[in-house]
Symmetry: C2
Subunit: 221 residues, 2 copies
DNA sequence: TTCCACCTGGACCCATGGGTGGACGTACAG
DNA sequence: CTGTACGTCCACCCATGGGTCCAGGTGGAA
Protein backbone atom coordinates (compact mmCIF):
# COMPACT_ATOMS: atom_id res chain seq x y z
CA UNK A 1 0.00 0.00 0.00
CA UNK A 2 2.81 2.40 0.81
CA UNK A 3 4.81 3.03 -2.30
CA UNK A 4 8.13 4.81 -2.02
CA UNK A 5 7.25 7.60 -4.42
CA UNK A 6 3.86 8.96 -5.32
CA UNK A 7 4.13 8.70 -9.08
CA UNK A 8 6.17 5.78 -10.25
CA UNK A 9 4.34 6.15 -13.54
CA UNK A 10 1.28 7.81 -14.90
CA UNK A 11 -1.89 6.11 -13.84
CA UNK A 12 -3.67 4.40 -16.70
CA UNK A 13 -7.35 5.16 -16.51
CA UNK A 14 -10.40 4.08 -18.50
CA UNK A 15 -13.52 6.21 -18.54
CA UNK A 16 -16.75 4.25 -18.91
CA UNK A 17 -20.02 6.03 -19.49
CA UNK A 18 -22.68 5.46 -22.11
CA UNK A 19 -23.28 9.15 -22.66
CA UNK A 20 -20.64 10.68 -24.87
CA UNK A 21 -21.56 14.09 -23.53
CA UNK A 22 -20.36 12.94 -20.13
CA UNK A 23 -17.58 10.64 -21.20
CA UNK A 24 -15.64 12.91 -23.51
CA UNK A 25 -15.34 16.01 -21.29
CA UNK A 26 -14.57 13.79 -18.34
CA UNK A 27 -11.72 12.11 -20.16
CA UNK A 28 -10.42 15.45 -21.32
CA UNK A 29 -10.47 17.00 -17.89
CA UNK A 30 -8.79 14.00 -16.31
CA UNK A 31 -6.00 14.16 -18.85
CA UNK A 32 -5.18 17.59 -17.47
CA UNK A 33 -3.68 15.90 -14.47
CA UNK A 34 -0.15 15.08 -15.37
CA UNK A 35 -0.11 11.84 -13.42
CA UNK A 36 -3.17 10.47 -15.19
CA UNK A 37 -3.35 9.00 -18.64
CA UNK A 38 -6.71 8.16 -20.14
CA UNK A 39 -5.92 5.09 -22.19
CA UNK A 40 -9.42 4.30 -23.38
CA UNK A 41 -13.07 5.21 -23.22
CA UNK A 42 -15.95 2.76 -23.09
CA UNK A 43 -19.70 3.04 -23.58
CA UNK A 44 -20.70 -0.13 -21.79
CA UNK A 45 -19.38 -2.98 -19.68
CA UNK A 46 -18.28 -5.19 -22.53
CA UNK A 47 -16.13 -2.42 -23.95
CA UNK A 48 -14.56 -1.96 -20.53
CA UNK A 49 -13.63 -5.60 -20.24
CA UNK A 50 -12.21 -5.62 -23.74
CA UNK A 51 -10.14 -2.54 -23.10
CA UNK A 52 -8.77 -3.85 -19.82
CA UNK A 53 -7.85 -7.16 -21.42
CA UNK A 54 -5.71 -5.34 -23.95
CA UNK A 55 -3.60 -3.14 -21.73
CA UNK A 56 -2.69 -3.05 -18.05
CA UNK A 57 -5.09 -0.57 -16.53
CA UNK A 58 -4.83 0.94 -13.08
CA UNK A 59 -8.28 2.42 -12.59
CA UNK A 60 -11.65 2.26 -14.32
CA UNK A 61 -13.96 5.19 -13.75
CA UNK A 62 -17.29 3.44 -14.10
CA UNK A 63 -20.84 4.61 -14.62
CA UNK A 64 -23.51 2.26 -13.35
CA UNK A 65 -26.28 2.78 -15.88
CA UNK A 66 -24.99 1.42 -19.15
CA UNK A 67 -26.53 -0.69 -21.92
CA UNK A 68 -25.45 -4.26 -22.67
CA UNK A 69 -23.53 -4.83 -19.48
CA UNK A 70 -24.07 -2.43 -16.59
CA UNK A 71 -21.43 -1.11 -14.27
CA UNK A 72 -22.21 -3.53 -11.46
CA UNK A 73 -21.69 -6.59 -13.58
CA UNK A 74 -18.62 -5.12 -15.23
CA UNK A 75 -17.16 -4.34 -11.82
CA UNK A 76 -17.81 -7.86 -10.64
CA UNK A 77 -16.08 -9.45 -13.59
CA UNK A 78 -13.24 -6.98 -13.46
CA UNK A 79 -12.49 -7.67 -9.82
CA UNK A 80 -12.44 -11.37 -10.57
CA UNK A 81 -10.44 -11.38 -13.77
CA UNK A 82 -8.29 -8.34 -13.13
CA UNK A 83 -8.09 -7.71 -9.39
CA UNK A 84 -5.12 -5.41 -9.95
CA UNK A 85 -7.42 -2.99 -11.75
CA UNK A 86 -9.39 -0.79 -9.36
CA UNK A 87 -12.90 0.41 -10.07
CA UNK A 88 -14.21 3.80 -9.02
CA UNK A 89 -17.94 4.25 -9.52
CA UNK A 90 -19.09 7.64 -10.72
CA UNK A 91 -22.84 7.87 -11.00
CA UNK A 92 -25.82 10.09 -10.33
CA UNK A 93 -27.51 7.46 -8.22
CA UNK A 94 -26.67 7.12 -4.55
CA UNK A 95 -29.40 4.78 -3.32
CA UNK A 96 -28.60 2.01 -0.88
CA UNK A 97 -29.03 -0.76 -3.40
CA UNK A 98 -26.65 0.72 -5.93
CA UNK A 99 -24.03 1.50 -3.31
CA UNK A 100 -24.14 -1.92 -1.73
CA UNK A 101 -24.21 -3.70 -5.05
CA UNK A 102 -21.29 -1.74 -6.44
CA UNK A 103 -19.09 -2.07 -3.38
CA UNK A 104 -19.98 -5.71 -2.97
CA UNK A 105 -19.01 -6.23 -6.58
CA UNK A 106 -15.57 -4.92 -5.70
CA UNK A 107 -15.64 -1.22 -6.39
CA UNK A 108 -12.94 0.68 -4.52
CA UNK A 109 -14.65 4.02 -4.68
CA UNK A 110 -18.10 5.52 -5.10
CA UNK A 111 -18.63 9.09 -6.18
CA UNK A 112 -21.74 10.94 -7.19
CA UNK A 113 -21.69 13.16 -10.21
CA UNK A 114 -21.63 16.33 -8.20
CA UNK A 115 -18.07 15.48 -7.31
CA UNK A 116 -15.56 17.97 -8.64
CA UNK A 117 -12.54 17.28 -10.77
CA UNK A 118 -10.22 17.23 -7.80
CA UNK A 119 -12.49 14.83 -5.98
CA UNK A 120 -12.41 12.44 -8.89
CA UNK A 121 -8.68 12.71 -9.35
CA UNK A 122 -8.14 12.10 -5.66
CA UNK A 123 -10.35 9.03 -5.77
CA UNK A 124 -8.45 7.66 -8.74
CA UNK A 125 -5.14 8.09 -7.01
CA UNK A 126 -6.43 6.52 -3.83
CA UNK A 127 -7.97 3.58 -5.64
CA UNK A 128 -4.73 2.96 -7.51
CA UNK A 129 -2.94 2.90 -4.16
CA UNK A 130 -5.39 0.38 -2.73
CA UNK A 131 -7.43 2.81 -0.74
CA UNK A 132 -11.11 3.43 -1.06
CA UNK A 133 -12.79 6.79 -1.44
CA UNK A 134 -16.46 7.43 -0.86
CA UNK A 135 -18.52 10.56 -1.08
CA UNK A 136 -19.68 11.77 2.27
CA UNK A 137 -23.32 10.93 1.63
CA UNK A 138 -22.35 7.51 0.33
CA UNK A 139 -20.49 6.67 3.50
CA UNK A 140 -23.41 7.95 5.55
CA UNK A 141 -25.80 5.69 3.72
CA UNK A 142 -23.48 2.74 4.04
CA UNK A 143 -23.20 3.33 7.75
CA UNK A 144 -26.92 3.77 8.14
CA UNK A 145 -27.51 0.30 6.77
CA UNK A 146 -24.89 -1.06 9.14
CA UNK A 147 -26.29 0.68 12.16
CA UNK A 148 -29.52 -1.25 11.90
CA UNK A 149 -27.29 -4.08 13.09
CA UNK A 150 -25.01 -2.43 15.64
CA UNK A 151 -23.11 -5.69 16.20
CA UNK A 152 -22.19 -4.35 19.61
CA UNK A 153 -24.00 -7.07 21.54
CA UNK A 154 -26.18 -6.34 24.52
CA UNK A 155 -25.66 -2.64 24.18
CA UNK A 156 -29.17 -1.29 24.46
CA UNK A 157 -30.26 -3.83 27.05
CA UNK A 158 -29.96 -3.44 30.82
CA UNK A 159 -27.09 -5.43 32.20
CA UNK A 160 -29.03 -7.09 34.98
CA UNK A 161 -30.72 -9.66 32.78
CA UNK A 162 -29.95 -13.17 33.95
CA UNK A 163 -28.34 -15.54 31.44
CA UNK A 164 -31.55 -17.48 31.20
CA UNK A 165 -33.57 -14.37 30.48
CA UNK A 166 -31.14 -13.35 27.80
CA UNK A 167 -31.45 -16.79 26.30
CA UNK A 168 -35.22 -16.56 26.21
CA UNK A 169 -35.05 -13.10 24.68
CA UNK A 170 -32.79 -14.42 21.95
CA UNK A 171 -35.30 -17.09 21.02
CA UNK A 172 -38.12 -14.57 21.05
CA UNK A 173 -36.02 -12.53 18.66
CA UNK A 174 -35.94 -15.51 16.35
CA UNK A 175 -39.71 -15.49 16.24
CA UNK A 176 -40.33 -18.63 18.26
CA UNK A 177 -43.58 -19.06 20.23
CA UNK A 178 -43.38 -19.87 23.92
CA UNK A 179 -43.98 -23.56 23.34
CA UNK A 180 -41.04 -23.89 20.99
CA UNK A 181 -38.85 -21.92 23.39
CA UNK A 182 -39.85 -24.28 26.18
CA UNK A 183 -38.97 -27.34 24.11
CA UNK A 184 -35.68 -25.89 23.01
CA UNK A 185 -34.63 -25.07 26.58
CA UNK A 186 -36.08 -28.25 28.07
CA UNK A 187 -38.26 -26.33 30.47
CA UNK A 188 -42.02 -25.88 30.80
CA UNK A 189 -44.00 -23.23 29.03
CA UNK A 190 -44.93 -21.76 32.40
CA UNK A 191 -41.27 -21.17 33.15
CA UNK A 192 -40.81 -19.49 29.82
CA UNK A 193 -43.64 -17.14 30.67
CA UNK A 194 -42.06 -16.37 34.00
CA UNK A 195 -38.76 -15.49 32.39
CA UNK A 196 -40.56 -13.40 29.81
CA UNK A 197 -42.47 -11.47 32.43
CA UNK A 198 -39.32 -10.83 34.40
CA UNK A 199 -37.26 -9.68 31.48
CA UNK A 200 -40.08 -7.54 30.12
CA UNK A 201 -40.18 -5.72 33.44
CA UNK A 202 -36.42 -5.35 33.65
CA UNK A 203 -35.86 -4.20 30.10
CA UNK A 204 -39.02 -2.13 29.81
CA UNK A 205 -40.38 -4.22 26.97
CA UNK A 206 -44.09 -3.90 26.28
CA UNK A 207 -44.98 -6.95 24.25
CA UNK A 208 -43.55 -9.65 22.08
CA UNK A 209 -43.20 -7.49 19.00
CA UNK A 210 -41.25 -4.97 21.01
CA UNK A 211 -39.11 -7.80 22.33
CA UNK A 212 -38.24 -8.92 18.82
CA UNK A 213 -37.14 -5.43 17.91
CA UNK A 214 -35.05 -5.02 21.03
CA UNK A 215 -33.47 -8.43 20.60
CA UNK A 216 -32.48 -7.64 17.03
CA UNK A 217 -31.27 -4.18 17.97
CA UNK A 218 -29.13 -5.69 20.70
CA UNK A 219 -27.61 -8.16 18.31
CA UNK A 220 -29.13 -11.20 19.97
CA UNK A 221 -29.98 -12.84 16.68
CA UNK B 1 -17.44 19.27 -2.17
CA UNK B 2 -15.94 20.54 -5.39
CA UNK B 3 -13.68 23.46 -4.69
CA UNK B 4 -12.46 25.58 -7.58
CA UNK B 5 -8.78 25.12 -6.78
CA UNK B 6 -7.08 22.32 -4.91
CA UNK B 7 -5.25 24.43 -2.35
CA UNK B 8 -7.15 27.53 -1.34
CA UNK B 9 -5.07 27.45 1.82
CA UNK B 10 -2.87 25.08 3.72
CA UNK B 11 -4.87 22.44 5.54
CA UNK B 12 -4.69 22.82 9.28
CA UNK B 13 -4.11 19.44 10.84
CA UNK B 14 -3.90 18.14 14.40
CA UNK B 15 -2.05 14.94 15.16
CA UNK B 16 -3.46 13.00 18.12
CA UNK B 17 -1.60 10.01 19.51
CA UNK B 18 -0.60 9.19 23.05
CA UNK B 19 2.79 7.86 22.04
CA UNK B 20 5.26 10.64 21.37
CA UNK B 21 7.36 8.21 19.38
CA UNK B 22 4.52 7.97 16.90
CA UNK B 23 3.17 11.47 17.18
CA UNK B 24 6.31 13.48 16.63
CA UNK B 25 7.65 11.78 13.49
CA UNK B 26 4.16 11.71 12.07
CA UNK B 27 3.73 15.43 12.55
CA UNK B 28 7.17 16.04 11.06
CA UNK B 29 6.57 13.94 7.99
CA UNK B 30 3.16 15.50 7.39
CA UNK B 31 4.68 18.95 7.53
CA UNK B 32 6.77 17.98 4.52
CA UNK B 33 3.66 18.32 2.39
CA UNK B 34 3.45 21.94 1.43
CA UNK B 35 -0.34 22.03 1.58
CA UNK B 36 -0.44 20.72 5.15
CA UNK B 37 0.23 22.63 8.31
CA UNK B 38 0.38 20.76 11.59
CA UNK B 39 -1.05 23.30 14.00
CA UNK B 40 -1.01 21.18 17.14
CA UNK B 41 -0.32 17.78 18.62
CA UNK B 42 -2.41 16.06 21.25
CA UNK B 43 -1.87 13.08 23.54
CA UNK B 44 -5.49 12.35 24.35
CA UNK B 45 -9.04 13.31 23.47
CA UNK B 46 -9.34 16.21 25.86
CA UNK B 47 -6.27 17.85 24.36
CA UNK B 48 -7.78 17.42 20.92
CA UNK B 49 -10.99 19.15 21.91
CA UNK B 50 -9.10 21.96 23.56
CA UNK B 51 -6.89 22.47 20.52
CA UNK B 52 -9.81 22.47 18.11
CA UNK B 53 -11.70 24.94 20.25
CA UNK B 54 -8.79 27.35 19.95
CA UNK B 55 -8.20 27.43 16.23
CA UNK B 56 -10.17 26.49 13.14
CA UNK B 57 -8.91 23.03 12.27
CA UNK B 58 -9.55 21.19 9.03
CA UNK B 59 -8.57 17.65 9.91
CA UNK B 60 -7.70 15.70 13.05
CA UNK B 61 -5.54 12.64 12.57
CA UNK B 62 -6.77 10.53 15.46
CA UNK B 63 -5.46 7.49 17.24
CA UNK B 64 -8.08 5.37 18.94
CA UNK B 65 -6.24 4.10 21.99
CA UNK B 66 -5.60 7.09 24.17
CA UNK B 67 -5.82 7.73 27.92
CA UNK B 68 -8.39 10.03 29.51
CA UNK B 69 -10.65 10.32 26.50
CA UNK B 70 -10.23 7.82 23.70
CA UNK B 71 -10.44 8.54 20.01
CA UNK B 72 -14.01 7.30 19.62
CA UNK B 73 -15.40 9.64 22.21
CA UNK B 74 -13.29 12.51 20.98
CA UNK B 75 -14.55 11.91 17.46
CA UNK B 76 -18.13 11.85 18.64
CA UNK B 77 -17.84 15.16 20.45
CA UNK B 78 -15.88 16.71 17.66
CA UNK B 79 -18.47 15.84 15.04
CA UNK B 80 -21.14 17.34 17.26
CA UNK B 81 -19.41 20.50 18.36
CA UNK B 82 -17.24 21.11 15.29
CA UNK B 83 -18.80 19.33 12.33
CA UNK B 84 -16.62 21.37 10.00
CA UNK B 85 -13.57 19.58 11.36
CA UNK B 86 -13.01 16.17 9.80
CA UNK B 87 -11.57 13.22 11.67
CA UNK B 88 -9.32 10.63 10.09
CA UNK B 89 -8.62 7.64 12.27
CA UNK B 90 -5.13 6.22 12.17
CA UNK B 91 -4.73 3.16 14.32
CA UNK B 92 -3.21 -0.29 14.48
CA UNK B 93 -6.56 -1.91 15.17
CA UNK B 94 -8.88 -2.80 12.35
CA UNK B 95 -11.47 -4.94 14.12
CA UNK B 96 -15.13 -4.58 13.26
CA UNK B 97 -16.09 -2.95 16.51
CA UNK B 98 -13.47 -0.24 16.28
CA UNK B 99 -14.27 0.50 12.66
CA UNK B 100 -17.99 0.70 13.21
CA UNK B 101 -17.66 2.71 16.38
CA UNK B 102 -15.29 5.21 14.81
CA UNK B 103 -17.28 5.70 11.63
CA UNK B 104 -20.54 5.86 13.52
CA UNK B 105 -18.99 8.50 15.72
CA UNK B 106 -18.43 10.56 12.61
CA UNK B 107 -14.94 9.71 11.39
CA UNK B 108 -14.42 10.53 7.72
CA UNK B 109 -11.53 8.18 7.23
CA UNK B 110 -10.00 5.06 8.73
CA UNK B 111 -6.42 4.06 8.09
CA UNK B 112 -4.28 1.40 9.65
CA UNK B 113 -0.76 2.19 10.67
CA UNK B 114 0.78 0.35 7.78
CA UNK B 115 -0.48 3.14 5.58
CA UNK B 116 2.30 5.11 3.95
CA UNK B 117 2.86 8.81 4.07
CA UNK B 118 1.16 9.38 0.75
CA UNK B 119 -1.82 7.35 1.88
CA UNK B 120 -2.19 9.49 4.95
CA UNK B 121 -1.76 12.74 3.08
CA UNK B 122 -4.30 11.65 0.53
CA UNK B 123 -6.79 10.78 3.25
CA UNK B 124 -6.30 14.15 4.90
CA UNK B 125 -6.94 15.99 1.66
CA UNK B 126 -9.99 13.89 0.91
CA UNK B 127 -11.42 14.34 4.40
CA UNK B 128 -10.95 18.09 4.19
CA UNK B 129 -12.86 18.04 0.91
CA UNK B 130 -15.73 16.10 2.45
CA UNK B 131 -14.79 12.75 1.07
CA UNK B 132 -14.08 9.63 3.03
CA UNK B 133 -11.05 7.41 2.67
CA UNK B 134 -10.79 3.89 3.98
CA UNK B 135 -8.04 1.33 3.82
CA UNK B 136 -8.87 -1.55 1.58
CA UNK B 137 -9.15 -4.02 4.43
CA UNK B 138 -11.28 -1.58 6.40
CA UNK B 139 -13.77 -1.26 3.59
CA UNK B 140 -13.81 -5.01 3.18
CA UNK B 141 -14.65 -5.49 6.82
CA UNK B 142 -17.30 -2.81 6.72
CA UNK B 143 -18.89 -4.45 3.73
CA UNK B 144 -18.72 -7.86 5.33
CA UNK B 145 -20.74 -6.66 8.30
CA UNK B 146 -23.24 -5.08 5.95
CA UNK B 147 -23.65 -8.21 3.90
CA UNK B 148 -24.56 -10.30 6.94
CA UNK B 149 -27.64 -8.13 7.17
CA UNK B 150 -28.46 -7.17 3.59
CA UNK B 151 -31.33 -4.87 4.57
CA UNK B 152 -31.95 -4.30 0.90
CA UNK B 153 -35.45 -2.88 1.02
CA UNK B 154 -38.40 -4.89 -0.14
CA UNK B 155 -36.20 -7.68 -1.29
CA UNK B 156 -37.37 -10.51 0.88
CA UNK B 157 -41.03 -9.59 0.54
CA UNK B 158 -43.30 -10.68 -2.29
CA UNK B 159 -44.10 -7.85 -4.65
CA UNK B 160 -47.85 -8.40 -4.70
CA UNK B 161 -48.50 -6.75 -1.36
CA UNK B 162 -50.99 -3.92 -1.69
CA UNK B 163 -49.89 -0.47 -0.51
CA UNK B 164 -52.21 -0.73 2.45
CA UNK B 165 -50.81 -4.08 3.46
CA UNK B 166 -47.30 -2.75 3.22
CA UNK B 167 -48.34 0.15 5.40
CA UNK B 168 -49.79 -2.14 8.03
CA UNK B 169 -46.69 -4.32 7.97
CA UNK B 170 -44.54 -1.27 8.54
CA UNK B 171 -46.50 -0.35 11.64
CA UNK B 172 -46.33 -3.91 12.91
CA UNK B 173 -42.60 -3.66 12.45
CA UNK B 174 -42.63 -0.65 14.73
CA UNK B 175 -44.17 -2.78 17.43
CA UNK B 176 -47.62 -1.23 17.41
CA UNK B 177 -50.66 -3.30 18.50
CA UNK B 178 -53.63 -3.56 16.17
CA UNK B 179 -55.57 -0.87 17.99
CA UNK B 180 -52.82 1.69 17.56
CA UNK B 181 -52.45 0.73 13.91
CA UNK B 182 -56.18 1.23 13.44
CA UNK B 183 -56.07 4.67 15.02
CA UNK B 184 -53.05 5.72 13.04
CA UNK B 185 -54.61 4.68 9.73
CA UNK B 186 -58.12 5.93 10.66
CA UNK B 187 -59.66 2.53 10.07
CA UNK B 188 -61.27 -0.02 12.36
CA UNK B 189 -59.40 -2.72 14.17
CA UNK B 190 -61.34 -5.31 12.18
CA UNK B 191 -59.95 -3.90 8.97
CA UNK B 192 -56.46 -4.00 10.36
CA UNK B 193 -56.93 -7.66 11.13
CA UNK B 194 -58.16 -8.30 7.63
CA UNK B 195 -55.10 -6.66 6.12
CA UNK B 196 -52.89 -8.58 8.49
CA UNK B 197 -54.45 -11.88 7.56
CA UNK B 198 -54.10 -11.15 3.88
CA UNK B 199 -50.51 -10.07 4.07
CA UNK B 200 -49.57 -12.93 6.33
CA UNK B 201 -50.91 -15.34 3.74
CA UNK B 202 -49.21 -13.57 0.85
CA UNK B 203 -45.83 -13.17 2.49
CA UNK B 204 -45.84 -16.50 4.31
CA UNK B 205 -45.61 -14.85 7.70
CA UNK B 206 -46.56 -17.01 10.66
CA UNK B 207 -47.25 -14.58 13.49
CA UNK B 208 -46.60 -11.08 14.65
CA UNK B 209 -43.08 -11.72 15.84
CA UNK B 210 -42.22 -13.13 12.46
CA UNK B 211 -43.81 -10.08 10.87
CA UNK B 212 -41.61 -7.76 12.90
CA UNK B 213 -38.49 -9.57 11.77
CA UNK B 214 -39.54 -9.59 8.15
CA UNK B 215 -40.49 -5.93 8.25
CA UNK B 216 -37.12 -4.99 9.69
CA UNK B 217 -35.28 -7.25 7.28
CA UNK B 218 -37.12 -5.64 4.40
CA UNK B 219 -36.16 -2.19 5.57
CA UNK B 220 -39.70 -1.15 6.41
CA UNK B 221 -38.59 0.57 9.58
C1' DT C 1 -71.81 -3.21 -18.05
C1' DT C 2 -69.38 -6.64 -15.93
C1' DC C 3 -65.57 -8.06 -13.55
C1' DC C 4 -61.91 -7.73 -10.40
C1' DA C 5 -58.68 -5.78 -7.04
C1' DC C 6 -58.66 -3.23 -3.11
C1' DC C 7 -60.21 -1.17 1.17
C1' DT C 8 -63.43 -1.35 4.41
C1' DG C 9 -66.22 -3.52 8.19
C1' DG C 10 -68.57 -7.06 11.28
C1' DA C 11 -69.26 -11.57 13.76
C1' DC C 12 -67.45 -15.50 15.76
C1' DC C 13 -64.09 -18.72 17.79
C1' DC C 14 -60.18 -20.29 20.06
C1' DA C 15 -55.15 -20.32 20.64
C1' DT C 16 -51.57 -17.56 22.41
C1' DG C 17 -49.71 -14.07 25.04
C1' DG C 18 -49.13 -11.49 29.15
C1' DG C 19 -50.04 -10.43 34.34
C1' DT C 20 -50.39 -11.96 39.13
C1' DG C 21 -49.38 -14.62 42.90
C1' DG C 22 -47.49 -18.33 44.95
C1' DA C 23 -44.29 -22.34 45.62
C1' DC C 24 -39.92 -25.19 45.82
C1' DG C 25 -34.94 -26.18 45.40
C1' DT C 26 -30.12 -24.79 44.89
C1' DA C 27 -26.19 -22.05 45.21
C1' DC C 28 -23.69 -18.46 47.04
C1' DA C 29 -22.50 -14.59 50.19
C1' DG C 30 -23.19 -12.36 54.38
C1' DC D 1 -27.01 -20.17 59.27
C1' DT D 2 -29.85 -17.05 56.86
C1' DG D 3 -30.93 -14.04 53.35
C1' DT D 4 -30.90 -13.37 48.49
C1' DA D 5 -30.72 -14.39 43.64
C1' DC D 6 -31.84 -17.62 40.31
C1' DG D 7 -34.26 -21.14 37.98
C1' DT D 8 -37.93 -24.08 37.94
C1' DC D 9 -43.00 -24.87 38.08
C1' DC D 10 -48.23 -24.30 38.87
C1' DA D 11 -53.02 -22.04 38.65
C1' DC D 12 -55.90 -18.48 37.25
C1' DC D 13 -57.57 -14.64 34.47
C1' DC D 14 -58.44 -12.04 30.44
C1' DA D 15 -56.70 -9.10 26.74
C1' DT D 16 -54.77 -9.67 22.31
C1' DG D 17 -53.79 -12.02 18.30
C1' DG D 18 -54.95 -14.81 14.43
C1' DG D 19 -58.32 -17.57 11.42
C1' DT D 20 -62.64 -17.88 9.09
C1' DC D 21 -66.63 -16.34 6.70
C1' DC D 22 -69.14 -12.90 4.94
C1' DA D 23 -70.41 -8.35 2.80
C1' DG D 24 -70.70 -3.38 1.13
C1' DG D 25 -68.38 0.35 -1.58
C1' DT D 26 -65.15 2.18 -4.96
C1' DG D 27 -62.47 2.56 -9.08
C1' DG D 28 -60.30 0.90 -13.03
C1' DA D 29 -59.97 -2.60 -16.73
C1' DA D 30 -61.92 -5.86 -19.98
Amino acid sequence: MSEPTEKPQRLKVIVADDQAAVREPLAAVLALSEDIEVVAAAADGTEVLAAVAGASVDVVLMDLRMPEMDGIEATRRLSEEHPETAVVVLTTFADDDSILAALSAGARGYLTKNAGRQDIVRAIRAAAAGQSVLDREVQDRLLATVRTRPSSPGQSLPADLTPREREVLTLIGQGLPNRAIAQQLFISEATVKTHINNLFAKADIRDRADAVRRALAAGLA
